[in-house]
Symmetry: C2
Subunit: 506 residues, 2 copies
C-alpha cells in the first residue's frame, strides 16, 4: 500500500484515498446515466516566472490532485468508466534529467506509487485515446468563486473522436463537495496542526513586533513540525486598523505594520498538506488582555458562531446560517450603542435590511478542501435537488456568499463570522435612507480605526450535526490563559457548544 | 525621499536607486544613438492558480522592478528619453477595493512613493501614448537562461504609431549587468543576511532531522529577522546521495530525506529582499566533523574557489575562471585516486578533454541580481565589445555556462564550483574512449552515493579585483568551529584570500 508522507512523524495519507475518489467519480457518472466511456484530465504543468528560468514551486492542479494525488508536473490521467481502471501518462524524461532533477522513475514505479492500473509515457497519450472507449469525457465549467472557466485540454484526438464537455464537470465537483472519511481525516489533521500553529503564534506575540513576524512564526511551525511546505493562501496578519481590510497581507499590503500594545490582532492563516488546506482565523488583543470594548465585539462574533452551530446540521440552509450570524453581530453592536433600535423595526427587520452587511460584508463561509474556496458552491447540473443550486442573492453580505447549498453530511465548510469597522461601508450606510437611522454616528466614530474581529472555524457536517475541526482557544478566558502561558489543549473543555470533539485528545 | 523597508531594523532601499536605474537606461539609449522617444514597459499582473480564485503572491516582473520598484500589480511605466521623465500608470480601482484590499492610494501618493514625475490611471495609457514622443521603444528579446522570449505588450496604439522592438532590450539588459553602487549595497546586504541564515541553519543541524526542516529554519530566520518574504529560488537541502542531484528540492524531490550521521549536506539557499536575491551554497558534514575523504573533496572545491579568486578581475574571461576551477577539482580527484594520471596527458589536457565536466556538469556561475540567473550572459547587440557576446561553447560543463563575458567592474556573479559523484555522468565517462582511461572504476565506486560538495559565493567585480559578499564559514576549521558552537563572525579572518572584506564588520 502506497502513501504520501513527508517523513518523521508527519501525517500519512494512503493513496487509497485517491483510489476511492476515482471510484466515487465513476459511481457518480453511472448515477448520471453514463455507463461507458473514458474520463480524461490533464495534470498541472511546470511554470517559470515571466520570461526567466525561475521555476515556480509546482503545486498540482486541484481536480487532478483529487483523482490522482500526483506530485510531479506534466502528467495526464484517464479513467475507464465501465471498469474503473485508471491510467497515468507520465512525461518521458531525457537521461540528463537524472543529473539535474533526480532519479527518473519508471512506469512501474509510478504505477506502484500512485496505485493505478497502468502507467504509460505521455507521448503515447493520443494513440491510447484513439483506442480507448468512447466518448471521452473532459472537464469544463465555471469556478463560481473566481468566475474563471476550467477549460479542457486541446488535443488533435479530441477533435476526431466523440468527446463530451458537459457531463463530467458537475459530477466531479459534487464528488469534491462531499468528502470521504479519509479526506475528512486529512482535513481534521490539517486543521488541528493549523490550530496548534496559531497557538504557537499567539504565545509569541509581543507589542513591538511586526505583523509579518507572526506569518514567519506560523509557517515555520507548520513546516518544521508537520511538513507543510505551502500555506493554503497568503497569510493575513492584521493589527490596528488592518483587520478591517478583509484580504490584507497581499503584496501591496504585506503585513508590514508594527504591533502596538492596544491593538486587536486578526490572524487568518491555514497550512496545506498533500494539497488539502485549512483556513482558520483567530483574533485577540496584542497584550493578551481584552478591554471591555474588545470583549464585547469579540463575544458578539463568538455568539455568531454559536448561533450558527445551533442550527448547523443536514437540511439547514446556509443562508439561514449567515443570517443567524448577522443577528448576533447586530445584537452586539446594539449593546455597544453603535447601532440603535428604532421603533417599528424588529431585529429581524434589521437583518433583512442588510444592516449586518455593513459590519460583515463577506459571506459566512465556504466549502474547503483542495482549494481554500472549494468548488461546488453554486453548481449547475449537480445530482442534488434543484434548490441546492440557486442563483446568487442580492444585498450586502448575501451577494458575497460563496455557497447557497442546503447542508448535507460530509460537506466541509468554514464558519467565519466577523465584525469590522470599515469606513467605506459605514459611511455608505450612514448616508443611506434606510440604514442611516440605525447608526449612532458619534459612537461608531469611536470604533473607526480599531479594525475588527473574525473567528473562523473549519467544520464538517455529520449525520445529525457537525464536528468542529478547529481546536484553537476560542473563549475569552481560554485566549487570555494561553497568552498568559497556560497549557493547550486545556484540561477541561469549558465550551462544549463549540463541538471541538477532539480537543482533549490532541 | 521615499524608500522601501519592511519596518523595524530591516534594510532601507532608497527609491533613488530606481531613479538612477532609469537615468542609466536613458544614458545608455543616448549612447546607442537614440536621443528622443518614449520607453514603455508593462508591470507584472496579478495571477490566480489555474481556474481558482487562489491568488498567487505577487512578485514584480524583473525588468519593471529594475526601473520602477513598484510593489503592486497592474502598473505600466514610461520614460521620456529626451527629458528622462518617468510616468507610472496605475490601475483605477473600484471603491470596494478599500473593503477587501486596503486603502486606495491616490496618483499623488504613488508619485511621491515611487519618485516619478507623473502618475496617471492606466485607462489613460493609450491616449497618453498617442501624444507621447515617438518612437515608442518596447522590450523584446530572448532570455539566454530560459530560452524564453520577453514579448512586448499588445496595445492598439502600438500598431498605429512608430514602435521599435529592437533597440531597448540590449541596452536595458546591459544596464542590469552592471550594478550601481546602491544595487551593490543591496546585493551585499542580502548576501550578508543569507550568510547569517546559513550559519543559523548550520547550528541547527542534527542527524535525525529532515532536510526540509533546514529549509524551514532558513526561511524563518531570513523572514523573521530581515523581512525576506520570498526566497530567490526553491531551497536545495540535500543530504546523503542527494547533493548529486543538482536541482534537488523541487516538488518531485521535496527535501524529504532523513539526515544521517555520516552524511555530507549541500544547502543551496538564498533570500530575496525588494526583489534582489542572493544565492549561496554551503556544504558540511551532518555531524559537524569532516572525515578525511570529505575533507579532501571539500578542500578541492574550496581550492577551486581560490583559483578563480586569484584571477578574478576586470579583463579576465569567465571561461578561464571555469577552467581554473575544474583544474583544482581534477587535482583533488587525482589525490583521492578517483582519477589517475595517464602518460602523455598533462593536467591541462585533462581539463581540455572535459574531464571536469564529469564531476561538475554545471557552469562556474552566473550573473545575479533581480533574477537569480540574471540577464545578459549572452547578450546580442550590447554596447560592449563583440567578443563579450560569443555563442555558447560545446562540451560538458562549458555548454552549461550561463555567461561567457569578459569580467568588468560592477558585475555581480556567483562563483560556485562543485564536485559531485553522479552515476549518469560517471558511467558515461567510464564508457568513453577518451575519458575512460582516467577513471579508476573501483575507487570511484566507493564515492558513489556520497553526493558531492558545492561552495557558492556571490561576488562583485571591482576596479582591480573583486569583493566577496558571502560572509559564511568556508575554511574547514571555520565550519567545524561554528558547528561546535563558536561565535560567527570570527575574531580574526584566517582566510583573507577569500576576500570577505566585511567579515569582521558584520
Ligand atoms: Mn475563509
Ligand atoms: Mn547559483
Amino acid at each position: 500500500m502506497s502513501a504520501f508522507t513527508l517523513g518523521l512523524n508527519t501525517y500519512v495519507v494512503p493513496f487509497s484515498m485517491h483510489v476511492e475518489n476515482r471510484d466515487r467519480l465513476v459511481k457518480g457518472m453511472k448515477e448520471a446515466g453514463v455507463s461507458t466511456g473514458t474520463i480524461l484530465l490533464r495534470g498541472g504543468t511546470a511554470s517559470e516566472r515571466d520570461d526567466t528560468d525561475h521555476e515556480n514551486l509546482f503545486r498540482q492542479e486541484s481536480y487532478f490532485h483529487y483523482l490522482f494525488g500526483v506530485r510531479e508536473p506534466g502528467f495526464w490521467g484517464s479513467i475507464d468508466i465501465s471498469t474503473g481502471d485508471a491510467t497515468l501518462y507520465c512525461p518521458r524524461l531525457p537521461e540528463e534529467y537524472a543529473v539535474w532533477m533526480g532519479k527518473i522513475s519508471t512506469c512501474l514505479e509510478f504505477k506502484i506509487k500512485y496505485e493505478v492500473q497502468t502507467v504509460k509515457y505521455s507521448d503515447n497519450l493520443e494513440s491510447s485515446l484513439r483506442t480507448s472507449v468512447k466518448p471521452i469525457f473532459v472537464n469544463k465549467g465555471k469556478n463560481s468563486d473566481s468566475g474563471s472557466t476550467y477549460n479542457p485540454p486541446v488535443l488533435d484526438v479530441l477533435k476526431e473522436v466523440d468527446c463530451d464537455e458537459v457531463k463530467l464537470f458537475p459530477v466531479l465537483c459534487d464528488c469534491r463537495v462531499f468528502k470521504s472519511e479519509k479526506e475528512l481525516a486529512l482535513m481534521a489533521h490539517v486543521s488541528k496542526l493549523t490550530s496548534l500553529s496559531h497557538v504557537h503564534v499567539m504565545r509569541s506575540v509581543t507589542p513591538g513586533m511586526m505583523e509579518y513576524q507572526l506569518e514567519a512564526n506560523f509557517s515555520h511551525f507548520s513546516y518544521y513540525n508537520y511538513g507543510c511546505r505551502n500555506m493554503g493562501y497568503t497569510a493575513i496578519c492584521a493589527c490596528g486598523p488592518n483587520p478591517a481590510v478583509l484580504h490584507y497581507g497581499h503584496a501591496g499590503a504585506p503585513n508590514d505594520r508594527v504591533i502596538r500594545e492596544e491593538d486587536m490582532l486578526l490572524l487568518d492563516m491555514g497550512a496545506e498538506y498533500h494539497c488539502y488546506g485549512s483556513d482558520i482565523t483567530c483574533s485577540y488583543p496584542a497584550n493578551g488582555k481584552f478591554t471591555e470594548r474588545q470583549r464585547k465585539v469579540y463575544e458578539g462574533v463568538l455568539n455568531a458562531q454559536r448561533a450558527v452551530f445551533e442550527i448547523c446540521k443536514p437540511g439547514t440552509s446556509w443562508v439561514d446560517c449567515h443570517k443567524a450570524a448577522e443577528k448576533e453581530v447586530i445584537k452586539a453592536l446594539i449593546d455597544l450603542k453603535v447601532l440603535r433600535e428604532v421603533e417599528g423595526y424588529t431585529l429581524e427587520d434589521m437583518v433583512e435590511m442588510r444592516l449586518g452587511g455593513v459590519f460583515m460584508p463577506h459571506g459566512l463561509g465556504h466549502h474547503i478542501g483542495i482549494d481554500t474556496h472549494d468548488v461546488g458552491g453554486y453548481l449547475e447540473g449537480g445530482k442534488s435537488k434543484e434548490e441546492n443550486y440557486p442563483n446568487r442573492l442580492k444585498g450586502a453580505g448575501l451577494k458575497s456568499l460563496r455557497n447557497l447549498r442546503i447542508l448535507e453530511e460530509h460537506q466541509c465548510l468554514t464558519v467565519e463570522p466577523g465584525c469590522y469597522f470599515i469606513d467605506y461601508t459605514i459611511d455608505k450606510a450612514i448616508a443611506d435612507n434606510d440604514l442611516g437611522k440605525f447608526i449612532d454616528v458619534e459612537v461608531v466614530a469611536e470604533f473607526r480605526g480599531t479594525g475588527g474581529v473574525r473567528l473562523e472555524d473549519v467544520i464538517a457536517i455529520t449525520a445529525d450535526g457537525f464536528e468542529n475541526y478547529t481546536l484553537a482557544p476560542r473563549g475569552i478566558e481560554e485566549v487570555e490563559a494561553v497568552m498568559g502561558g497556560a497549557k493547550w489543549p486545556p484540561m477541561k473543555d469549558v465550551h462544549p457548544e463549540l463541538m471541538r470533539k477532539e480537543l482533549l485528545n490532541m
